[in-house]
Amino acid sequence: MMDAEAGIRAALEKMWKASCQALDESADEILKISSQTYCPVDTGLLKSTAKDELVVDSDSEHTRELSYDTDYAKIVHEVPYNHYNPPLAQYKYLEVPMRLQEQKVVANIQSAVRDSIDS
């Protein structure tokens, strides 16, 4: 009986680790898309401050925070304005790629969990 319990615990541990890793990779991909495609570039300062931070990492919660760490990041993100460099640069440069990728994040985590069970 103890062996079965240990086996279930080990499987759950593998699933949790796989889903955390999938989330990390997905967050990294979103930030790359954001900074390289959507983030407006003038001096390059805004783009260089793109930050991917693990803010909670416990046995039950794994949270990543994506941000741009400069004073005017919020203004560029929230004020509608035409940005031309790079060609797809726009306001909402972090929110738009996040929304575009959100279903892929869920799919990535599902797939990672499935793989961890199969392996």
């Binding site: 929230e78 509608p80 304005y81 929304r99 279903q103």
Partner: protein, 137 residues
């Protein structure tokens, strides 16, 4: 034609609720759609900015489109800007099965309380409120 007109319907609703007048106005707060100007007057701007794909199941209704939109409140008084943006946020943050103008909203959901954006060079305070919506197409 809901995707093309839903912002107009929301702007008209804000007008009926007393927030201003749709279009240009010198006597009341203009509620303007799609545009944003470095102007020196109090105003409310509605802007659509993408959204999510409709393959998530949000209701039993067969066909929906899910745009995101932003309402930007600008006012010379910070207190008024705070109060107006908070009031609009409360008004629209939890609408379900809501018919306004020609649009049937499956839902309108506030993403977050108002965000202070900046004080403009001309001394106006701007607050941003962001929403997700789902419309029958």
């Amino acid at each position: 034609m809901t995707l093309e007109t839903y912002l107009s319907d929301i702007a008209t609703y804000l007008q009926t609720q007393g927030y201003g007048v749709v279009g240009s106005s010198t006597t009341s707060t203009p509620i303007q759609i799609g545009g944003y100007y470095e102007s020196t007057y109090n105003a409310i701007f509605l802007t659509s900015y993408g959204g999510s794909d409709s393959n998530e199941i949000v209701s039993t209704e067969a066909s929906s489109i899910n745009p995101d939109f932003q309402i930007l409140v600008r006012h010379s008084s910070q207190q008024t800007a705070i109060e107006t943006s908070a009031s609009i946020y409360r008004l629209l943050r939890k609408k379900v099965s809501w018919d306004i103008g020609t649009t049937h909203f499956i839902y309108v959901r506030g993403k977050a309380p108002p965000i202070f954006v900046r004080k403009t060079n001309s001394g106006f305070f701007e607050y941003s409120i962001n929403f997700s919506a789902s419309l029958s197409d």
